[in-house]
Structures are given as C-alpha cells and as structure tokens.
Symmetry: C2
C-alpha cells in the first residue's frame, strides 16, 4: 500500500525478493524468464569496466544512502541494464591504511581549529559495490526508480470509502504466511511459537537479516489468527494478544540472542505490505527501513491507545505516506486529502 | 533529554551549534579558548596527508551514514585531534566519468542476470570529506562519540516521579526563545506570525536549513504562550492551538515556498530538546534527524488523540529513546523500565 513494495516487511519467502529502497542488495532469485537468458555466451566477460556502457537515464541518486542507480545499454548488444552503485561504510580492518601517507588531503578551508578538507583515498581503500542486472526487465527498473511520496490523513470514513475497498479488491496472496503458520515452509527458521488460537504467534527472522550480527537484528512476529488484517482492525479485545507478543516476543529474543527488551524497537507498519497482522522486532541500533512516524506504530503505544479507548482504531486519524504513482494516492486526491 | 543535544531542534541561535549526529558539518563557530590557539604558526601546512597522524581510538564508525570519526595525535605535537571522514553522495556532474573505462569492476559473483561487483573508481571521482578539529577539546570528542540508546516506556506515573522532576531541576534556559517571541532577536527571519495569546505562534526556518533548497526544508513553529512545556502537557483545550498551527503553518509554507501541505511532515518531538512547545515542519523528501516513531509525533495524530480523549496525554504510555549515559536512563533503570 504506502510503499507497498515491502519496505521493511518480509516478502513471500519462496521468492526472497528484497525490495526496500535502501537495500543495496540485488535480488539473486531467478525466475523462468531469466533462466532462458542464462545460456547466452560471453556474459562472464561482461562488465569488467564500464567502457561499453552508455547511460540512458538516472533512476535515483540518493544523497541519503549514497546510492546511484542508472539505466543504460551495452554497445552493440540488445536490451537494457540497471546498474546500482553503492558507497560502502569504512572498512574497520583498513583503518590503519586509510590514516597513512597514501591518503591525500586537499584544503577546502581552514578556520581556527577547524580544518575542512577533501580526502583522496586509494581506490582499493574506498571501493564501491556495483550491482548490475542485465538484461533488465521493466520491473527491475521500477524497483530502483525514485518515487516521490505524499502524506495522507486517513480518517475512519476515508478508510471505509477508499482504503478498505482497495484492500478487498487487491489480490494480496497470503499463501506463504499460511505455509509458515502450518509448518509447511520455513519450520526450521522458527525462533519461538505460541500456538494459542486467540493470542498465539510465530517468531521468525526477517529475510533481510543475515542472522549474523546483532546490530541489524530483525525478526517478524506473525499472528496465528487470520481475521486481523491491520492496525485499523485492532480493538480493546485484542490487548491480550498484543501484550503476549510484546512480552513473549522480547523474552524469546533475549533468550535466543541475548538482546534485552530495552534494546529493541517493536512496532507495526501502517500501511503494511501484507494484510495479515504482524509485528516487527528490530535492534534499536538499526535504522531499519520504515521506522519513521507515519509508518511505524510502536507496540507499547498501540497497547496504551487501546487501554485508553477500546475503539481507538475505529475513531483515529491514521496519517501515512503513499507513493505518488500508487492507485490509492489518486483516490485520496479526488477527496482532496 | 533523550538525545538532548538538539537532534533536529533549533539550538540557541546566538551559538549556531550544529549538533545532530548525522550532520557532516563541523561547527565553525569559534569561542574564546579557540582564538588563543589561532596565532600558532605552521597550521596551514598541517594535514596535507595523514602521514604524521596516529590513531588513539575510533569514536564512531557509522555504517548508516558511512562516516568514520577517530581521535588521534600528531607526531611530536601536543594535544589531540578529532578527524571525521564522511563518504559523499555521487556527484551528478561526474556521472559520465564514473561510467567509463576508468572504473574497474571486479567480480564477486555472477548468477543468471545478476552481477555483483566491486567497483574501483579513480580517487578524484570518489572523494571523501575530512573534517578535522585540532587541537580538540573534550566536548569535541564527546560530540562525535557513538552513544548507545535504550527505549523506555514512560507511564504517567513515571513521568511524575522521574521525568517531571528532572525537567524542573534542570536549567534549560528559554531566554533565546523569548527573544524570538518578543522580536528582540531574529525578527528578520520570521516567515509567519499569529500573535494570538491562546492560539498564536511564530514560524522561523530551523538553523540546520540553509533555506536554499526545498528538498531539506525545515521550519519551526514556536508557540506564543509559555505554559506548555511538551506533548505531555497537551489537553483537549489545546486543540484550537494545534489546529491553528497545522493549518496556518502549512498555508504559510505553501505561500512562501510553494510546497503543498501533503508534501510536509509536521510533528512534535518527545522528549524535545527544549521545554517550550514547538512544532517541526520538514519536507517529506527529507529524512530529518528525529523523525522515527518514539521521537516524532505527527501533529495530525496528536490532534486526533485529543479528539478521542481530552486527557489522552495524561493517561498515555509515551515510549522514547534515551542515551545510555543520560541521567534519565539510570533513573528509569532503577524502576526497572
């Protein structure tokens, strides 16, 4: 919905798509249409430099993420390519080499105790990640294209008139969620399970988390019951479910990973990327995609809201951001929101 | 308070400090102690490379911001230096040069249509900003040192027992705010003013905004009345004030800068960096510091909460992040929050 392409949410695990804008990973999953291309010869010699590469257009130049995505073509070859360049964090193993005579410093200005310089590092101490998709399809281009967003204030009435019919008419498949809940898929990834029909949930690592370092810890709690589509549906009667997820989810993470409750950010997305209630658990040190106000709703706030008023989410204005080319945006615009 | 060092809030304008962690600018303001150092000879020849630089310790290696801050010393010279290296966004003017034969690509893996490479760019196409402070004082080191944070769930009772006494006992000077409200300072910076004693406010550009580009537009709305310290104090009777700020603030920005209401993020901070009610207006395209859930509270949500329950902020659990070395953190810890 808003940023519907799964910003910060688990995608269907059978696909393993990574679609959040800030991710520098390119989906390494293949599909049928790709496999047919693979037999083409000579691909391994492609892209040893950008010598034969011609830029068609810039898809995104993100100052925030120091990421540049372009669409281009290869001289004398069919089809287009998407190239994503991503500057990397400083490599802690190379810090001694970075702070040596091999780094040149050019002065921009010097005022008192403050020196402002341009540093020129040897290329190998300042490498850049390049992810290339070739031949690229339209969907690859769309995924990396910068999308502008707007805020909408969703009143209860606008939810009924616009958002709800949109959700109902869209075909969001939930099969992959039910596969997890029924232990048909990813059973070995389950960190914790409470099978209670009313208050139960399953805790699994998010697909975006490698599971290797605690700095970007990211898990998902998926509710067992299937009748709650999103935050909007929550009522006072759901408080036991939410408290259960708050308490047992954090306790399970403490036990499995040693990360205490106060070092976790626990929240729901609105709009979510799929309409089966789920809760995000991320490390506080990790600025996960979709933690901003107007997208993330802290679970302790949600519980507090329902304790203040059991009909809170039946009455509240819920602001959220929506991409400008999203069908919902134009529907809200017609209502002058 | 939480991130008390003015993350996203205006600092006293007479100082023009820029203290948000994500800023790559080093404060160029001088003070008396600095001026005495300036006469020392030979400084302009310092830092042409890091040849004579010795690392004492890493202050922060931010993967998120691709920023590295270290404390070090210069061989044979007194005092310590803080060096902050910051990777820069890709330079749009040099894109043709980047996508040329001068960029080498080394293969990491190749799977089907997906190529994963390391790109080695010529140094001058991949420059790094270096900000150096020498000689550095303790406050400079503290400013760049990574601070870990924790979440606390502030119940109404904990507010009364811990937060409120802390605010009351701390000497947060509000003189600079009253100077603005009384037109003694910054009168020429006022974008809009509604002088009503109950519902009035003054709109000024935030000090972190250059005012030059709309992408990072950032203004502050400062309430005229002096009796509301923060979000916690808001009650149903304040709805007219908040609606006035929502409507007239956004209208003034539309008139002055041409940015429509749905392209603005309008929010309060809790905890704020100073305890006189104020509202942040930023461009939606700008990921301003402190827009995450648990810090930013969207104004339309605040109004909606008070409409649902006039005593909402008297009853609500307000979660927020607090730095682990902040006095509030230990007080909450004693209560096992």
């Amino acid at each position: 919905m808003a940023e519907a392409a799964a910003k910060g949410d688990p995608s269907p695990p059978t696909k393993k798509m990574r679609t959040d804008d800030s991710s520098n990973a390119v989906d390494s999953t293949t599909d049928k249409s790709c496999e047919q291309v693979e037999a083409t010869s000579g691909e391994d010699e492609l892209f040893s430099s950008f010598e034969e590469f011609e830029i068609i257009r810039i898809l995104n130049n993100s100052e925030e993420h120091k990421m540049l995505a372009v669409e281009g073509r290869l001289q004398g070859r069919p089809g287009t390519a998407v190239v994503v360049l991503q500057k990397l964090p400083f490599n802690a193993d190379k810090i001694e080499e970075i702070f040596s005579r091999s780094t040149n410093l050019l002065e921009i200005f010097h005022n008192d105790i403050y020196y402002n310089k341009t540093a020129l590092l040897p290329s190998e101490l300042n490498d850049v990640r390049a992810n290339i998709i070739y031949p690229a399809e339209e969907k690859h281009i769309l995924r990396f294209e910068r999308q502008s967003c707007s805020f909408v204030d969703e009143t209860p009435q606008l939810y009924k008139e616009i958002t709800k019919p949109f959700i109902d008419s869209s075909s969001f498949s939930k099969e992959w969620i039910y596969n997890i809940l029924e232990h048909k898929k990813e059973a070995d990834r389950i960190i914790f399970e409470d099978p209670d029909a009313e208050t139960g949930f399953i805790l699994v690592p998010d697909l975006k988390w490698t599971g290797e370092q605690l700095e970007d810890l990211y898990l998902q709690g998926i509710v067992c019951r299937r009748d709650i589509t999103s935050l909007r549906d929550l009522r006072g009667c759901h408080i036991p479910l939410l408290k259960n997820m708050h308490d047992k989810g954090r306790a399970a993470i403490k036990e499995k990973y040693g990360v205490p409750a106060h070092k976790l950010r626990v929240y729901l997305h609105y709009q979510p990327s799929f309409y089966h209630l789920h809760v995000h658990y991320t490390a506080i040190s990790f600025e996960a995609p979709g933690t901003w106000a107007g997208k993330a709703h802290l679970l302790s706030t949600v519980i507090s809201n329902l304790e203040i008023c059991g009909q809170y989410y039946e009455k509240a204005v819920l602001p959220f951001t929506v991409k400008d080319n999203h069908p919902l945006r134009s529907k809200f615009e017609e209502k002058e929101c």
